[in-house]
């Protein structure tokens, strides 16, 4: 934590000490900010919008559009899950948990159309990304937009000399952190201890343990799975070629990219990922009135791997014990025989090398075809446009599932006594492993009117959107997959007087396919103001305050993504059966009510206000924006479990009931300056957010179990007070546990409900012991440039977050594989100094459950991106006949600061249940002609 504060202070001190510097980098207030269906100059904006420029995303070797957004905008929070090749394993939240953590993902809009995934876009195609945060900004996107909108715009051609860019990068990836496990002799020793703890006899003899340690063999295997099966590093490669240009009639943007990455698998089939993407965005001016555009993008992702998923592979690594089976049954006949262990049954070498293969291909196609009309000559300031989009997505998996035999040793004294388990299946038909299709059809039409007279500026946008997403899975999908249908008609009017006072009204008539005919349409509105204080006389000539704007917005908008289809109607379903007759030879099928419909269901609503300040200070060296937001989500649908007595049956209708508030502040500051030829800038994005259950459908026996009034990310668990030191300690504490025996070395849990004097630790003794979602998310960015040498650093971190260390790495229970954590476990008799509770060979136990014993400070700070680049001088560029020539060295996730040292604090199961996250180092070049 200290480090982060230090970083932050450095940034602030930098800002303050540099007040006196004269040179400025002009802030372009007239920059247009793209908004839904139109753009607006920054000084007329009443809402809260973060803008990420595409070029800011080009410093990293991470090629996934979602994860590179971490730390790039004040209002956007990004978390990474694992590093599977070619996949975005991230979650995105705008302004925290607006729905309390469930179904609160933002709406993704790409080139004006929703139902498209960020992962369908290549980074090189990104012109800019807007994060729409407040109600006026989101309104025009309708009934799916209340959680915030990530609006991505792809690059377009320009009316200038054509520019060709070639980019190539090659890098090495190493796992950031991998869990460490015990070897066979350590395991056997500690497992014996676990048995003794449970009052059982040890399983392994001293001779066994000695053999594991000194004489490993097929009978006494000692396999280090992570070491055997994972490469120390893997590599990736990116190539991109891009052409931008045009004249006043035709403009084009053409992009061709390739990404190749290998997996970590060391034995058997190594995973390979390849991606090819193309895009052409064309603009053509037919005449002075009509212009057209056509965008076509296609992408193909191909994964080649063994017939085992990444999750299965890593779950095997983290669960197959070192003594489960020998990888190879070397002593028997040819050395190609695989070993067998009864507990696991499979052999991971066989799974990777002999189980067949899977080839997954994903195809994306995106097209936009549009017309724009410049109607200036009819009505001054009037433009209109319409476009149609059509996307297809198809994921196909083909593969073969083969099988392999293993050798079991039946007699420890005679290695020739073996049994072959399973049979080798070397050939089989290729079969379909997956088949998913979706189509997305969209129609957008808009009319824009812009007029200025005297001191007045008026801007009106009227827009209609209709889009339909159709899905189909040909393999074992649900029997009916509903289409996602949206219609939204919106109006925005923005009026500015004297370039000082702006008011804006925006309204949306939202259609939804989730409600009855009577409730399908909702009219929502919002309004906002802006006051450019720096244009008032008293600040006009200030050198300190170059620009200062106060803004605010308030409104209510509907949301329907949280509703399932057809919740409003009653229906009956087939369920259960009765078998009768001799030995149940006959069968008859049962039916029951499947749903109690609620015809009154209507939109969930988000009531929000935002108050913000934008400023440029000290000769425009400091740019600052801060916003306070306050959102109240009402009418959240919930199964009304507590409204009807249980004697009315199992079914309860869904109603609009729960409420969640989400409040916070987001802030971004950037300080930019130069000293001679040395240019630098430092910046930070910070967001604080807190979501609370204001109304929650519940009835609890004890008040401390109520969720109402608690933060939505509360971690519920038992309050722990260290470990029981000895029997006297147990007797003093005087509680029993409904979860198993208590002996010295067990976790001492507090009994907070003791109303019947029962002294039992049970489910009612849980309370809020922490929170899972970081209260503060922040990033720090440093940019230095001197004579073509540039340094770019981006760090990102969290503060105010607890992590429950509850995965299999920390909980060495039952028959599980033991990690190094087991070394520190308490032994009855010498509990002091232990770092984890006493071991147990039982699958259920008192100590290994979610208590504050396992809760740690989950904060972390990561250096996400570091890039050192050099742009060659014009003289050298000429030798390549190039305009620009840049070489760079990059690093991703170079270091992490956290109290969690053993696993990745951002996702403690990465490397355990799936791919680890990676530290990347790469080299590359960029040539521009």
């Amino acid at each position: 934590m200290k480090y982060y504060i230090l970083f932050f202070l450095t940034a602030i001190v930098g800002v303050v000490s540099a007040q006196q510097k004269k040179d400025t980098i002009k802030v372009q207030l007239e920059d247009k900010i793209p908004l839904p269906f139109g753009e607006i100059s920054k000084n007329k904006l009443v809402g809260a919008v973060d803008v990420i420029k595409g070029e800011d995303l080009m410093h990293t070797s991470d090629y996934n559009v979602e994860s590179v957004l971490a730390g790039q905008a004040a209002g956007l929070i990004v978390g990474e899950g694992n590093g599977s090749p070619g996949l975005d394993n991230t979650w995105l939240k705008i302004r925290g948990l607006s729905r309390g953590g469930s179904s609160d993902q933002p709406l993704i809009v790409i080139d004006g159309i929703a139902n498209r995934a960020l992962s369908s876009i290549s980074l090189d195609e990104v012109e800019s990304i807007q994060i729409l945060k407040d109600v006026t900004a989101k309104m025009l996107y309708g009934s799916k937009a209340a959680n915030g909108v990530i609006m991505l715009t792809t690059k377009r051609g320009t009316n200038s000399k054509s520019k060709f860019t070639f980019f190539q990068e090659y890098g090495i990836k190493t796992a950031t952190r991998l869990p460490e496990y015990l070897n066979s002799s350590q395991y056997a020793n500690l497992y014996n201890q676990a048995r003794i703890n449970d009052g059982l006899d040890p399983v392994y003899t001293n001779e066994d343990i000695n053999n594991y340690a000194n004489n490993p063999s097929v009978l006494y295997p000692d396999v280090d799975f992570y070491d055997e099966f994972l490469k120390k590093s893997t590599s990736f490669q990116r190539i991109n070629a891009q052409l931008i240009g045009g004249d006043d009639k035709t403009q084009y943007f053409l992009n061709l990219g390739y990404i190749g990455e290998n997996g970590l698998e060391n034995l058997g089939k190594n995973q390979k990922f390849n991606r090819f993407n193309i895009r052409a965005n064309l603009d053509y001016k037919v005449n002075n009135t009509v212009s057209m555009f056509l965008d076509i993008a296609g992408r193909m992702d191909v994964w080649d791997r063994a017939d085992i998923t990444n999750a299965e592979f890593f779950n095997s690594l983290s669960s197959h014990r070192p003594n489960d089976y020998p990888l190879w049954a070397g002593e028997v006949g040819d050395t190609d025989n695989l070993g067998y262990g009864a507990r696991v049954g499979t052999n991971l070498v066989g799974e990777l090398a002999r189980s067949g293969y899977v080839n997954n291909k994903v195809y994306y196609g995106q097209t936009n075809l549009g017309l724009n009309f410049d109607l200036n000559k009819h009505v001054k300031g009037l433009t209109a446009g319409a476009y149609v989009t059509f996307d297809v997505y198809n994921a196909i998996g083909l593969g073969k599932s083969l099988d392999y035999s293993r050798i079991r040793f039946d007699d420890p004294t005679d290695l020739t006594q073996t049994t072959r388990v399973g049979t080798d299946v070397l050939d089989d038909k290729e079969s379909r492993k997956g088949d998913n299709v979706y189509q997305n059809l969209g129609v957008v039409a808009n009319i824009d009117y812009e007029k200025s007279w005297g001191k007045n500026d008026l801007l009106i946008n009227l827009v209609g959107v209709n889009q339909t997403l159709t899905r189909k899975s040909s393999l074992a999908g649900p029997s009916t997959q509903q289409d996602d249908k949206n219609i939204n008609i919106g109006l925005r009017a923005n009026y500015t007087f004297n370039n000082k006072y702006t008011i804006e009204g925006t309204s949306s008539y939202m259609g939804s396919d989730k409600f009855t005919k009577d409730n399908r349409w909702g009219l929502y509105g919002a309004g906002g103001f802006g006051w450019i204080i720096s244009n008032e006389d008293f600040l006009k000539d200030s050198k300190t305050v170059n620009y200062l704007k106060l803004k605010g917005s308030y409104g209510v908008m509907g949301y329907d993504r949280s509703f399932d289809y057809l919740l409003y109607r009653d229906f009956y379903v087939a369920n259960g059966n009765l078998r009768t007759g001799p030995k149940n030879s006959s069968i008859e099928y049962g039916w029951r009510a499947g749903q109690i419909g609620n015809p009154n269901l209507t939109f969930e609503e988000s009531e929000e206000y935002n108050i913000g300040l934008e400023a440029s200070l000290f000769n425009n060296k400091v740019d600052l924006e801060v916003n306070y937001f306050n959102e109240l989500r009402t009418n959240i649908p919930v199964v009304l479990n507590n409204a009807l007595p249980d004697y009315t049956g199992n079914l309860k209708p869904v109603g609009n009931f729960n409420e969640i508030s989400n409040k916070g502040v987001d802030l971004s500051i950037r300080y930019s300056d130069k000293i001679g030829d040395f240019k630098y800038s430092v910046g930070t994005n910070v967001i604080y957010s807190k979501a609370v259950h204001e109304v929650f459908d519940e009835i609890n026996e004890y008040a401390h179990l109520n969720r109402t009034g608690q933060v939505t990310d509360a971690i519920w668990g038992w309050q722990a007070n260290g470990l029981y030191q000895d029997d006297a300690d147990i007797a003093n504490h005087g509680v029993t546990s409904s979860y198993g025996n208590i002996i010295p070395g067990d976790v001492k849990l507090e009994d907070i409900t003791n109303d019947k004097g029962d002294n039992i630790i049970d489910q009612f003794d849980r309370k809020v012991i922490g929170n899972a979602f970081a209260r503060v998310n922040y990033s720090l960015n440093l940019n230095l440039e001197y004579h073509g040498v540039e340094l770019y650093l981006l760090g990102q971190g969290t503060s105010g977050r607890d992590q429950m260390l509850s995965n299999s790495y920390y909980w060495n229970v039952g028959e599980n594989k033991y990690s190094v954590q087991a070394l520190g476990s308490a032994v009855p008799g010498s509990v002091a100094g232990a770092t984890s509770p006493r071991l147990t060979s039982l699958s259920q136990s008192h100590s290994y459950r979610g208590s504050s014993y396992w809760l740690v400070d989950g904060d972390y700070f990561k250096l996400r991106t570091a890039e050192l680049s050099y742009s060659f001088s014009d003289r050298i560029c000429k030798k390549f006949a190039a305009d620009r020539f840049k070489i760079f060295v990059r690093g991703n996730d170079l270091f992490t600061i956290s109290k969690i040292k053993d696993v990745n604090p951002e996702s403690i199961s990465s490397g355990i249940t799936n791919y680890p996250m990676f530290t990347t180092v790469s080299l590359g070049l960029k040539l521009t002609y």
Binding site: G199, L200, D201, T289, L375, A445, I447, G464, N466, S479, T480, Q482, I487, I489, G511, D513, K517, R520, W521, Y565, R569, D570, Y572, V573, A574, N575, G576, L578, R579, T580, G581, P582, K583, N584, S586, I587, E588, Y589, G590, W591, R592, A593, N642, P645, D646, T648, N650, P653, I699, E701, T736, S738, G740, K756, G757, D758, I760, Q763, L842, Q844
Partner: protein, 605 residues
């Protein structure tokens, strides 16, 4: 031609004018199209799904019949439905080695059984079934819905059978709820449950604030429903040929085994009235109970079928779903049988590889008399503590797997260090016995769990069997008029004698003859009931309705092998349950009390 040209021209001109003049309008048109789309509500109509709307549903007799088919789930198809354990695992009959299971927690953790965590709670599910049944009674029986359109005679007979099933099920479910929730409430009144005889309207506040009916009202309605079921067209038994040797159609032949019969209705009546007459309730008399039982005896006769056969018990009884003992049963799983019960309860260790879950207690072992009929505590019994299992009631051998018994061709070893105790191959603390015994009752000796040699067998839940009627009768008749009264044809003594005869106790049975008082006979009847009906879910409720001691210390035995073919037996106390007095009656669900205003809790909870 000219005309045409001119026409073309003019249209061309007008088109241009149109474009100029109405270009703006074109664009509005585009928006207009969208608006039209939106005004067209069909666009938002979701796709047809596989569920049935109410109209589709009530028009189809198969669907409507399915309402009671679904409600049959209220009848359990196996005994070990309490978190994988038997309800007897919460009594002094047995312990479970599943330490964290709900039955074990109930016995071992003082304060675990509460209105919030109630291991025998089935309130919501059973009311859900009642909802289905009432809906069926309302829409499926009035004759407007035809089950056989082409044969109205058959339709009528079939509908009458369905009516019988529906009313039997309603009675069965109401009674199941009654024995779990009926009791003296906080106002000191003996209450039952809210009776459900019609569909509820969730928009009607009255329907959302029901009160509990009294225990007596509940019993009355159950009896009334059973009388309706008896007057409907249920057969006495499902069989393939009638008395004249003619084929009986599929609506009433043996393919319907498992559905209620008139005998099952009478048997339930006998059980309900016996409960109601018991000390914990007492809303009806033992005379009524004895009368109800004797009515069943009138049909099934005064002799019990000989199903007990030590060497062939699986085939003759436990895994034979058509044995003569059964009045109504529900078979587990599908027509291929299964071996889940064996998987859970076979002894662990090589060859048997079960999980050894249910461990009969020493208490139950001691409850079995000697083969000569004397209890082991009787000096005349010939019982030898050092040779505990010798010369015992044959039912003992068929109920419990004990040390040195031969089971499935294997000698079971439950002595310390034996093959079926902790430490042996495949035996852990989690699957080895806590009492020294494993369960034999209901286990198939045909079933095999060994990989590659898997064998399944038929299992069932015997809902009503003939012996229960004899025991019901004996208890009621003894309480009403003493052991030897013959008002109802046979005496309590006769009934018990038949039970013991069938079990294989020596025909002379001098011990039974030695009993003369009502009290001594009561103890014997209770003990017979315990050992006959163990592991059938009766004891938990029997102890409570009798107001008997719930907290007998549960004991086991530690056996050491003397190495010379003899064993040393040391009795051990394992756990003493801490049920409280108020736990004769179960708790109503805590949530239900919070959600409703008028439902009262039973005392103590």
């Amino acid at each position: 031609m000219q005309k045409l040209n001119r026409h073309e021209n003019s249209s061309h001109v007008s088109a241009r004018v149109f474009i100029k003049k109405y270009k703006m309008r074109n664009i509005l048109l585009a928006l207009g199209v969208l608006l039209m789309l939106s005004s067209c509500d069909d666009y938002f109509e979701p796709k047809l799904t596989n569920e049935r709307t109410e109209d589709q549903f009530f028009a189809n007799p198969n669907y409507v019949r399915g309402l009671i088919t679904y409600a049959y789930r209220a009848i359990p198809a196996s005994y070990n439905t309490y978190g994988g354990d038997f309800l007897d695992n919460a009594t002094d009959n047995a312990l479970s080695n599943n330490l964290t299971g709900i039955m074990n927690k109930m016995v071992e953790i003082d304060g675990y059984w509460t209105a919030v965590s109630n291991p025998i709670n089935n309130w919501q599910s059973r009311y859900d079934d009642l909802k289905n049944i009432n809906k069926f009674i309302e829409v499926g029986l009035d004759g407007t819905l035809l089950y056989y359109k082409s044969n109205l005679e058959r339709d009528e007979a079939y509908r009458q059978r369905l009516k019988g099933e529906a009313y039997f099920l309603r009675a069965f479910i109401h009674f199941d709820l009654l024995r779990r929730y009926g009791g003296v409430d906080e106002n000191g009144e003996l209450m039952g449950i809210p009776l459900m005889t019609a569909s509820l309207d969730i928009n009607n506040p009255d329907d959302l604030s029901l009160t509990r009916n009294t225990y007596k009202e509940c019993v009355d309605l159950i009896i009334e429903d059973l009388d309706i079921a008896l007057s409907a067209n249920l057969p006495e038994e499902y069989r393939d040929k009638d008395d004249l040797g003619q084929d009986i159609g599929e609506d009433f032949n043996t393919t319907n085994l498992g559905r209620p019969t008139t005998v099952a209705c009478q048997a339930l009546k006998s059980r309900v009235l016996l409960y109601a007459a018991s000390p914990s309730f007492g809303t009806s008399t033992y005379t009524e109970a004895a009368q109800a039982a004797s009515e069943v005896l009138d049909v099934i006769g005064n002799t019990l079928p000989n199903i007990y056969n030590v060497n062939n018990i699986s085939a003759s009884f436990y895994n034979n779903d058509q044995n003569d003992e059964l009045i109504m049963r529900r078979v587990t799983g599908n027509q291929n049988g299964e071996n889940g019960l064996e998987r859970s309860n076979f002894p662990p260790g090589v060859g048997l590889i079960g999980d050894g879950k249910c461990n009969p207690s020493q208490n139950l072992v001691d409850a079995f008399p000697m083969a000569n009929g004397y209890p082991i505590t009787d000096a005349a019994s010939g019982y030898d503590e050092n040779n505990m299992y010798q010369n015992r009631d044959p039912r003992f051998e068929m109920t419990v797997i004990y040390n040195n018994q031969t089971f499935k061709g294997q000698t079971v070893e439950t002595f310390e260090g034996g093959n079926n105790m902790v430490g042996a191959a495949g035996v852990t603390v989690e699957n080895s016995t806590r009492t020294g015994y494993y369960l034999r009752k209901w286990m198939s000796s045909k079933a095999n769990l060994v990989d590659g040699n898997n064998v399944n067998d038929t299992h069932y839940n015997a809902l009503f069997r003939k012996v229960e009627i004899f025991l019901n009768f004996a208890e009621a008749a003894n309480e009403a008029n003493g052991p030897d009264d013959t008002t109802f044809g046979i005496s309590a003594r006769n009934a018990i004698a038949e039970v013991r005869r069938r079990a294989g106790i020596d025909a002379a049975d001098p011990y039974l003859a030695s009993i003369t008082t009502k009290e001594a006979m009561r103890d014997l009847i209770k003990n017979e009931r315990r050992i006959e009906l163990c592991f059938e879910g009766h004891r938990f409720f029997d102890l409570r309705r009798w107001n008997d001691n719930l907290n007998q210390t549960i004991t086991g035995v530690t056996i050491t092998n003397n190495g010379d073919g003899t064993f040393n037996y040391t009795r051990k106390d394992i756990v003493t349950p801490s049920y409280k007095d108020y736990m004769d009656y179960g708790p109503l669900p805590f949530n239900e009390l919070l959600k409703t205003e008028n439902i009262t809790q039973n005392q103590g909870w």
